[in-house]
Symmetry: C2
Subunit: 128 residues, 2 copies
DNA sequence: TATCTGTTATACATATAATATAACAGATAG
DNA sequence: CTATCTGTTATATTATATGTATAACAGATA
């Protein structure tokens, strides 16, 4: 799986890395049980520090996307990513809310906004 | 217009303030030409520093939500907030993308996601 | 035994967030 | 004219976040 980082971006490197791995899982380029590189090798490949990769991995682990075994290394959660629950639902509501507020102010119609969401959803199902 | 800040939140204070003003405009609690408090009085009311308010105001000004006249004070943009353009469209795409990636991983259906967006959209049109 | 793993601990540099004062220039009310 | 309020700018300080750099430890493996 290809990962491209923008070192000039305001978005922290560990966040970019995290989001690209999540996108990889969403696109099924990464499947349950698939191995991920070790923190050291991935850091080396990307030309960044071991701790930056580790921070991304730790958060992915904490959120249930991956498991980290002392023996087996790092793998995409074999049981699948935990499904939506109440806490997650309220979290994405909080994240979407300000985006929609802005869109309303800028005269983005509900239809245009929903169409954009459909388009992005489609992007994650193209390989199924 | 009532503003509630969470000083314990990870979200910066100036971002909370900015988003609540934008939400106020979206809900039409704030209309074109309406005055906003001076940086000093708002800072005093909220119990925060003048510069924190100023930072929020400067960004709102830079993004076209408000105007700041030396004479007339701070007002919601009398010409209305600039409508969506290509740059803004690509920006919200970037912001929504990782949210949808996560939702796909967590088995949030497209229908459920769209329904949430509709619900939030409705919240901003309840007073029209 | 040597090497690779995740993990932890320090240390350092830089940037951001938030506060605290202070001052300036323009406008306004008394 | 004077005093006050406006946005703005400039410094300084504190705390936290980000990213890097080394180093070490313990478990697993070849």
């Amino acid at each position: 799986m290809y990962i491209a980082l923008d070192l000039e971006s305001e978005e922290p490197i560990y966040t970019q890395l995290k989001n690209q791995i999540i996108a990889g899982i969403a696109k099924k380029e990464l499947r349950s049980g698939d191995p991920l590189p070790s923190v050291r090798s991935l850091a080396s490949d990307l030309g960044i520090n071991l701790h930056t990769v580790n921070k991304a991995y730790q958060q992915l682990k904490q959120e249930g996307f991956i498991l980290i075994h002392r023996q087996k290394g790092v793998v995409v959660n074999p049981d699948g990513v935990p499904s939506v629950d109440e806490a997650y639902w309220s979290e994405i509501t909080k994240r979407i809310h300000p985006i929609i507020a802005e869109s309303v102010c800028r005269n983005v119609t509900e239809q245009d906004f929903l169409q954009l969401c459909r388009q992005i959803y489609a992007e994650f199902q193209s390989k199924e």
